[in-house]
Amino acid sequence: MNKVDLLSGTLDLMVLRTLAALGPLHGWGVARRIEQISGHQLILNQGTIHASLVRLQQRRLIKGEWGTSENNRKAKFYSLTPSGRKQLDAEAENWQRIASVMEKILSVLPEEMGG
């Protein structure tokens, strides 16, 4: 399977989106869900995910609390803060704009470019 290289900053956005969609998750859960959603095109290093979680916490976009998992295991659960939700909206919109621009440019035919 080809590994997809992540653009910097995109991982943070993925984490925010995952937490927004699925509610509080622990680090392992966040990584697995992102992999699942990507159709296993992304293989995430647990350390990298963890660093992203720490960074988002420092920026007060998410918060982490110790709790118990469904299997009665202790784990730290992360959830979005209000400012995290705002940030997600802004970032997501921004990302979509970039993506649509990229799509247009990449779909331009050679003759159109030359014109």
Binding site: N45, Q46, A51, V54, R59, L61
Partner: protein, 919 residues
């Protein structure tokens, strides 16, 4: 925006709470392993496989923890901190290396810091007074200065113009200026004087007008300063203000000094105040012990009416405070017209030219000191720069060798995943640490010596008659000096530390680790660099040694100049009877009595007197019939007043005519004895005996009754025309210099003279005793001192290059141990081995010597400043002096051989089998 601020704050907080954060991480990581294992078990794996898979899936916990640490804190700052801690540990592990490097750098940087602070004090610092930039010293110049009488000291200021600038005025011209000048908020008069002060002996007194301290802008730290009220003649009681230093010396810094009496030339004066520490007036080459009001002028100078005398232009040196917003030109014009007015109220009968007035910025106050040190400072700057360069090159050499011997450590760290950049940063940090410690040690060293620096500077100033001046300005830690020294430290660290660090960090781990012994892969490069560094050091040391050699030769030549008389056994003693109220007749009697008594003492071969020792100080202009001087300096001759028998005492041959006698008094015709240089200049080819001349054209005639041989008292100047007149026929000056030629030792001669003087007048101190040799050495103090400094630092350079050669060779021997062992085992003769090793160091030494020699010659040839400096400073020594060059070459070469012998000897004494087995 806000999230980023929160992140920065959290990271800063993270540095402090790192331990807990890492603990949190470990907890969380462990929990997630459990969760992952559970998940795998749910997928049907057995617990053991489930756990292994989970661990694999999670990845390296070490790497994750490292990432976590970096995310939590400020990684750059922390690595720097880490580098410093690691560096310190490495340095502590090799204390010998560290000590050597720090010591070498401390010498180099310390010498520079000391010189910086001197230069700072002399050239950039302003006087410790309020608004020093407003202060001006008033000076004047005139080609024909008949309005001043004769007895004007040598010109004390230079600059602006070729005509000499003179800093002293008559009191009447001062008062005219003070009363009418509008451009100045204050004009103050001061003069120098030396006084006898009871148990304190001879001390420096400064006489000031009442407005002096208000003008300069200084207040007393204790009591009060001299005030205008002290100037009011008879009503004022005699008062004295002490310098801080004299207060400490005489009263131990006690406040009880106020109201105490001190004696000034036998008269009492009441102490009313103490000046701030470090304040010396406006001339730093002159440091008064006491400051007295102008009303005490007569007591200090011994001349009751000196102030009223409009022809006495030695009365006042003037310092003024320019009013804010007034230009120098305006002040200058105003003072010039006022001085002209003052002169025209009582114009002299001889032709004269009205003086030009110049204003000199007195705020820095150090003009006289700058002039006095101008000669020595350039060479000092060069010396310390060279010493620093040598120290840096030497340390760079040490760093190279150390880098090579640590290759195994570096290779291991690289193999463990440390990047080259990271290693380089680590090495640079260590280098910077060494330099900083060395730099700080140097600066501390420099400041530890700073109390001695003013005294050191004073030894670079020539002082013909009296002791070297006690400079009173203080050298204190100063941001400029500190900044410059630290800047120099970091700059040299980067220049000289980068290359060794770069070199050492370029290690190839595999090739190093594969070797059983820690040796470099490319053996050639390291010793090559080392050799270049050794050559460079030796070349620099060569420059210093050549300079030292040239100056040693100069001093030797100065000392071997024949003085024209026999200086051995001659001792001078100075008496200042005029200060104790002796008038000219009483002085003459004292003089006569003293000479009489001394002549009858056993052990004293001859005893006689004069006004100054030999003919060192005192000039007068003469008017010789038929001789028209083109310039003022053409009519200047040295003058001294003498008693009968003085030439015998000096051992100066009388060429023709007669000596002066006790009969040559004021009632008899004025007579003089001249030297051969005088005859050659003014009466070339004629018999000078019976001729006459005058000191003022149209003045009293002086008949030449004798001619004596020339003496060389100013070594560089050659023989100058000189006139000796009988003591009683020369009015000025209250000084007696007793001259004694003694067969006994100097100390007993001194006590003998002191005893006889005290028999005649118990209150008259005998001030200095001095020999003609000392007199000559004091005049050539600069040459002596520069030589001392050069020799001192030349030795330092020699020792450093010795260390450099030794270090290089010792390193090479360690590296080549197995090879040498094999050679010996295969039957190489030990002397061959010795030679082979010696060659390794003698080739770079010879290269360095050659480079030093060539660059010295090139520098002297092509740099104008160096050539003109040397041609002025050296005395009868060619700049390519063969003795110096041969001496420097052989000294350095011998040093290199000695330094190389030790490691080479140990190499050829090696036991081959033991070495090979060990390897």
């Amino acid at each position: 925006m806000m999230p980023r601020v929160f992140e920065a704050l959290a990271r800063i907080r993270g540095i402090l709470t790192k331990k807990r954060l890492v603990q949190d991480f470990d907890d969380e990581w462990a929990c997630m392993i459990e969760i992952a294992t559970d998940e795998n078990i749910r997928f049907g794996m057995d617990p053991h496989t489930a756990r292994r898979e989970a661990l694999l899936r999670m990845g390296s916990s070490e790497e994750a923890r490292e990432l976590h640490r970096d995310t939590c804190g400020l990684p750059l700052l922390e690595t720097i901190g880490h580098d410093i801690r690691y560096g310190m540990r490495q340095l502590r592990r090799s204390p010998k290396f560290m000590l050597a490097a720090v010591l070498i750098l401390a010498i180099g940087i310390g010498a520079n810091a000391a010189l910086f602070s001197e230069i700072n004090a002399v050239f950039w610092k302003t006087l410790p007074v309020q608004q020093p930039e407003q202060l001006r010293t008033i000076v004047w110049s005139s080609p024909k200065r008949a309005f001043t009488g004769h007895d004007l000291g040598p010109p004390s200021y230079t600059g602006f113009v070729d005509t000499p600038l003179i800093g002293s005025f008559s009191f009447s011209s001062y008062t005219t200026m003070r009363n009418r000048a509008t451009a100045f908020s204050g004009l103050a008069c001061w003069r120098r004087g030396e006084v006898n002060s009871g148990e304190w002996g001879s001390i420096e007194a400064q006489i000031v007008s009442g407005n002096y301290f208000a003008t300069v802008g200084v207040d007393a730290v204790l009591g009060r300063v001299i005030l205008p009220v002290d100037e009011e003649g008879a009503r004022s009681h005699p008062v004295a203000v002490l310098s801080y230093r004299f207060w400490q010396r005489a009263f131990g810094g006690s406040a009880g000094a106020l109201g105490q009496r001190i004696t000034i030339n036998g008269s009492p004066a009441t102490v009313v105040g103490v000046l701030p520490r470090g304040f010396f007036g406006v001339d730093p080459t002159y440091a008064p012990d006491v400051v007295l009001p102008l009303a005490m002028n007569a007591i200090v100078t011994g001349r009751p009416r000196a102030i009223e005398d409009t022809r006495d232009w030695t009365s006042c040196e003037i310092v003024g405070r320019l009013s804010p917003g007034v230009s120098d030109a305006k002040g200058q014009n105003e003072l010039e017209s006022l001085v002209h007015q003052a002169i025209l109220t009582d114009p002299p009968s001889e032709p004269y030219e009205l003086p030009h007035i110049w204003l000199k910025n007195a705020g820095q106050g150090l003009d006289s000191l700058r002039n006095a040190t101008r000669w020595s400072f350039p060479v000092l700057i060069l010396i310390v720069a060279l010493v620093l360069l040598i120290a840096c090159v030497n340390t760079a050499g040490l760093l190279f060798a150390r880098g090579m011997s640590r290759q195994r450590e570096f290779a291991t760290r690289l193999a463990l995943g440390v990047s080259h950049g990271r290693l380089l940063r680590q090495l640079l940090t260590e280098t910077l640490l060494i330099w900083l410690i060395g730099g700080i040690a140097g600066i501390v060293l420099a400041y530890a010596f700073s109390p001695f620096l003013p005294r050191l500077i004073s030894h670079f100033i020539d002082t013909p008659i009296t002791r070297p001046p006690l400079l009173q300005f203080e050298i204190r830690p100063d941001w400029i000096v500190l900044g410059l020294s630290m800047g120099l430290t970091i700059l040299t660290a980067l220049i000289f530390g980068l290359a060794p660090a770069l070199r050492a960090s370029r290690v190839k781990p595999i090739s190093v680790l594969n070797k059983r012994q820690a040796r470099p892969i490319d053996d050639d490069i390291c010793p090559f660099t080392g050799k270049v560094l050794v050559s460079a050091q030796i070349a620099l040391a060569m420059l210093l040694l050549i300079a030292a050699g040239l100056f040693i030769h100069t001093v030797v030549n100065i000392r071997s100049v024949p003085m024209g008389f026999d200086p051995h056994g001659v001792v001078f003693f100075r008496l200042e009877p005029a200060r104790n109220g002796y008038d000219v007749n009483r002085r003459y009697k004292l003089f006569h009595d003293l000479v009489d008594r001394l002549q009858h003492e056993p052990g004293l071969v001859a005893a006689s007197g004069s006004r100054t020792p030999l003919q060192v100080a005192g000039t007068a202009s003469v008017c010789v019939p038929g001789h028209a001087p083109a310039r003022l300096s053409d009519s200047l001759v040295n003058i001294n007043s003498v008693s009968p028998g003085v030439f015998d005492t000096w051992g100066l041959p009388l060429v023709s005519g007669r000596d002066v006698t006790w009969m040559d008094g004021t009632e008899n015709p004025n007579v003089a004895i001249v030297n051969e240089a005088f005859v050659n200049k003014y009466y070339p080819g004629k018999n000078a005996l019976g001729q006459n001349f005058a000191f003022k054209c149209g003045g009293q005639q002086v008949w030449i009754v004798g001619v004596v041989a020339d003496m060389r008292t100013v070594v560089r100047a050659g023989a100058r025309p000189a006139v000796y007149i009988p003591y009683l026929q020369s009015p000025g000056g209250g000084r007696i210099v007793l001259t004694v030629r003694t067969a006994i030792d100097r100390a007993s001669a001194a006590s003998l003279v002191r005893r006889i003087v005290s028999q005649l007048d118990a209150n008259l101190p005998v001030l200095d005793d001095m020999t003609p040799i000392e007199l000559r050495d004091r005049q050539t103090q600069r040459e002596h001192q520069v030589t001392v400094v050069l020799v001192l630092f030349g030795l330092v350079a020699l020792i450093l290059s010795c260390l450099g050669v030794y270090g290089l060779l010792a390193y090479i021997v360690t590296q080549r141990k197995p090879e040498i062992a094999v050679r010996i085992a295969l039957g190489a003769r030990r002397d061959e081995v010795l030679l082979m090793i010696m060659r390794e160091s003698l080739v770079p030494a010879a290269t360095g010597i050659a480079c030093g020699l060539i660059s010295a010659v090139v520098l002297i040839r092509s740099v104008h400043a160096i050539r003109s400096y040397l041609s002025e400073a050296l005395f009868r020594v060619s700049m390519n002096d063969p003795w110096t060059l041969v001496g420097a070459v052989s000294l350095l070469f011998l040093t290199a051989i000695v330094a190389a012998m030790v490691p080479a000897w140990s190499a050829c004494r090696m036991e081959p089998m033991a070495t090979l087995r060990h390897d």
